[in-house]
Every structure is written in C-alpha cells, then in structure tokens.
Amino acid sequence: MFIVDYIKEVYGAVKSLLTGMNRTGYYFTHHKEIITQEYPDNKDTLVLSERFRGEVVMKHDENNEHACTGCTACELACPNATIKIITKFDVTPEGKKKKAIDTFVYHLELCTMCNLCVEACPTGAITMAQTFEHSVTDRSKLIKKLNQPGSKIREGVE
C-alpha cells in the first residue's frame, strides 16, 4: 500500500506542476493581459478620477474671486487641525465693516484627505485637487496659502 500512496503522490505533484506551468505558458503567450504600468513613464497618459482626493484647493474664477466667507466651518470639521483661517475686516464703500478672509492656511503635512472640510463648506469654496506628487525638500513648503494674492470674495456669496 505504501507504494500505491507514493505513486499517487508523485502523480499529484506532477499534475500540480503541469497545471501551474499551463498558466505560465498562457501568460507567456498572452502579452495583452499584462496590465503593469510603469509610473513615471506613463505620466502623459495617466488619468486620475475627478473625485480623487489629492489636496485641498480653493476655487478661483477668472476675475480672481473665490466663494470663501471665512465662516471656519472647514476649520471646525477638520480632525487634524489642517486648516487655519485668519480673518480681517474689509471696509465697504458704504463705510461698513465686513468680515473677510485674510489668509487661508492649509497644512498639507497634516492632511489625511478625509474630505470632511469639503463636505462642511456651505458655499462650495474649497475642493479636492487631483495632484498627488507632494514631496518637497523642506517641510515649510507644505504649509500653503490657498487664497490667491489680491483675490476677493465673489459678489452675492453670503
């Protein structure tokens, strides 16, 4: 009986080996099923989904206007203290004081791209961008100012 078991085992091993080699042969002759993309070389053709969360950016239109009222809803929604809004008071032509953002500080090094700030924003002023190559040589370069210089709040956004 030992001999029968032994022969069965050898038969099983050869069969398993051939099954494996069959797969190897299949992929050897079917190059089109290879899906590996080599990253820096495919940069021109790389398309990321429009929902991909790369970093937080503030939307500006062609008049360099944004929709941020400085309500700090995003600052409160952020679990990591990534966002810090510094506000100032603008004087309107009628002589009234109006709250506006001075600097929208964004700490990319603290951000986990959880999307909670974008969800919390009542005016849709911030959004997620599809950039993903964030490596820099100095940590201070990761602290970003999101509102562009000279930008102001869009008319009609409360």
Partner: protein
C-alpha cells in the same frame, strides 16, 4: 497553558520573530520557544504600532471619529467606518435611505473581496508560492479603481458619514462593477486551479494548526478563522444589519479546523461576496444617498453598541455618550486581537515553518490588533 509561558528547559531555543519580519505582515513581534524545530510556546508582544485610536476618538466629534477607524484594519476600512456610522445612527435614531444602505453593502462586499484577494496572494506567498501574489493584486487593482472613482481614495476611503454616504455613486460605477464581475468570475477559477488543487500547498495546509470548535469559542475567535472550525458566527446572518437580512447568500462553514479549512472558508466567501454584488448591482434603488442630519451631531446620554462582520471577523463598536458633541468613551472589539490570542494554542507542537501558514490563515492585520 499559563504555566508554560516563559518557562524554558535546557536545550530550548528562544528566538524573536519580528517586529520587522516579512512573514508577520507588519510590526508583530513573536517570542518563540523552540525545541529543535518544534514550537513549545508563542508569545506575541504588542504595542509597536499603538496609536491610541480609542483615546483619540474621545476628542473628535461624531463626524470626525469615523475616519480614524480606517487606520485600524486598513484592508477593510470601509466596513470599519460602517460599524462606527451604525453606532452613531443608533444613537441619533436616523433612518438611513434605502439607496444609501444598498451602496454601503455593495462597498462592504467589494472591500471584503479586495481584502480576501490580498489575503489569498499573501497567504500563498507565505507558504512559498510567489506568482499568486501578483495575480491577486492584478484583480484587486480593478476594485481599487472602482473605489477611487466613486469614493475618491483607494484604501482609506472615508466614504460613509452618519446618515448615509458622502457622495452619490459615480455614473460609471455599475458598468465598472459588471466588468469586474465578468473578469473575476473567470479568474477565481484560475485561482482555484492554481493554488487550491496544488499538492504542495495542500500538504502544507492539511492537518496544520488544528483549532477545535470549543477552543475557537473559548478564545473568542471570530470570522472565517472560527467558521473553519465549524462555529457559526457570521454577523451578517445572525444579527443582520442594513439589508443583509433580505439578501440571498450562504454562511460558509467547514469542520476541519485546520489551515486548509480556514483557507477554504475564505476562498468560498469570495464567491459569496461576488454573488451578493451580482444581486445588488442591478437593483440599486433611486432616492437620497444621505439622510438629513444636523451640522453638529449630539448623541443622547447612554451607551450604544453595534457590530458588523469585517473581512477578518466581528468588529464591535461600544460607545458611551454623555450628551455632548464628542464620545465619552469608545471601545473597539477588533477581530484581529481575539484571533491572535488563539495563535499560541494553535501552533503548539507544530514546526516552525507551519507557524507562517497558521498566521497566514488567521489573516492578521497588525494595526487592527494594536489600534
């Protein structure tokens, strides 16, 4: 069992596996006592990746503390988020819209499939077959792309919020999932042929790491590891949440209790997940994807508990609220921790090489154990 811990007789060898060892899939540190090549004792040392997620959650609001759980069991991050959202919804008594429930379950099953695929590849790699690892990652990439398109991220999705999901499904979602189903149906047979039927693989798995039904229950083992020993413990069947009660799927049970039984349970679960996705993909109801909730969530005073079936077992979220905007205390019952506790019992008397196979079938994710 306890008196043997740390006792060595002459001729025994004490070696450290980890904290940086490729077979432990993370920073797990095992202190092994060996007699020759036979394992006498296994002592896991934890704490290398402890981030105090439970304590952190006490200072985060009910919207914020959900995202942290993605960092526990990162392979089933969506299911972890689901468990937390269920607890918060239980406290707030929100009715989740039907569409959101279906989306959540669909994503749960896709996550489970992705997790099992990775496990399958890593498991085969642990016992010496490198090729399945690449095959598994190739198909897993399709799921990751679906996730990226709809949720915005590939691994730590944070797609769930209290009351539903953050954003509606992407228009391409249904088409992509159907493409994936046809692709994966042919590939899963290939997996089966390549690894399950392989005689070398079977010899390394059969009769190794026996865990009896009684021991599985007394150690609190859950998930596929316990179902391999014949313990019926699928939360989706026993305590259905969301729409699982109305779905048609089987709870896979194997009675072998060895590594091969646990392997078969996980492997067959992949087919079950696929069948759940097939049932749901054409029947996503129209409607809201999110229930209306207040901007600041406040849970009433009390204790809330909910549990879900993750890819590794039962995840329980126990939350105490004092009525404020942050939880007073959060406790996670993570599947990995309980499953690891049975490792010593399972690997005693087997050879050092078998330990890797046993750990592979437990499907340990170390951040889940350490939190």
């Amino acid at each position: 069992m306890f008196e043997e811990v740390g006792t060595t007789t002459e001729g025994d060898l004490v070696i450290n596996v980890g904290p940086q060892h490729p077979a432990t899939h993370g920073v797990l540190h095992l202190v092994l006592t060996l007699n020759g090549e036979t394992i006498k004792n296994v002592e896991p040392h934890l704490g290398y990746i402890h981030r105090s997620i439970e304590k952190m959650s006490e200072s985060l609001t009910y919207r914020q503390f959900i995202y942290v759980t993605s960092r526990m069991d990162y392979l089933s991050s969506h299911i972890n988020n689901h468990a937390c959202a269920l607890t918060v919804e239980k406290g707030l008594q929100i009715e989740v819209p039907a569409r959101a429930q279906v989306i959540r379950v669909l994503m749960d099953e896709l996550t489970r499939l992705a997790s099992h695929q990775l496990w399958w590849g890593a498991m085969a790699m642990d016992v010496g077959a490198l090729t399945p690892f690449f095959h598994a990652f190739r198909e897993r990439e399709a799921i990751n792309e679906i996730m990226e398109e709809t949720c915005g991220a590939r691994l730590t999705m944070n797609y769930i919020c209290p009351g539903g999901v953050m954003i509606d499904l992407h228009p391409n979602f249904q088409r992509k999932v159907k493409e994936f189903i046809t692709l994966f149906k042919s590939k899963i047979d290939e997996y089966d042929e390549m690894v399950t039927g392989n005689i070398i693989f079977q010899n390394r798995m059969k009769g190794i790491g026996l865990l009896s039904k009684e021991d599985a229950i007394s150690y609190g083992v859950s998930g596929p590891a316990a179902r391999g020993s014949g313990v019926s413990c699928d939360i989706r069947k026993l305590y259905p949440y969301e729409i699982y009660g109305s779905l048609n799927f089987e709870e896979i049970l194997e009675t072998g209790g060895d590594c091969f039984a646990r392997y078969l349970v996980r492997f067959k679960e992949m087919r079950q997940s696929l069948s759940i996705i097939e049932q749901l993909i054409d029947n996503i109801p129209e409607g809201d994807f999110q229930a209306k909730t207040k901007a600041v969530l406040k849970l009433p005073k009390g204790e809330f508990y909910s549990r879900v079936e993750t890819a590794r077992g039962e995840l329980g979220v126990y939350l105490i609220s004092e009525g404020g905007t942050t939880p007073y205390r959060v406790k996670y019952r993570s599947p990995g921790f309980s499953n690891l506790s049975a490792l010593n019992h399972m690997s005693k008397g087997y050879k050092l090489g078998d330990l890797v196979a046993i750990m592979g079938t437990l499907d340990l994710v170390i951040p889940d154990i350490d939190r």
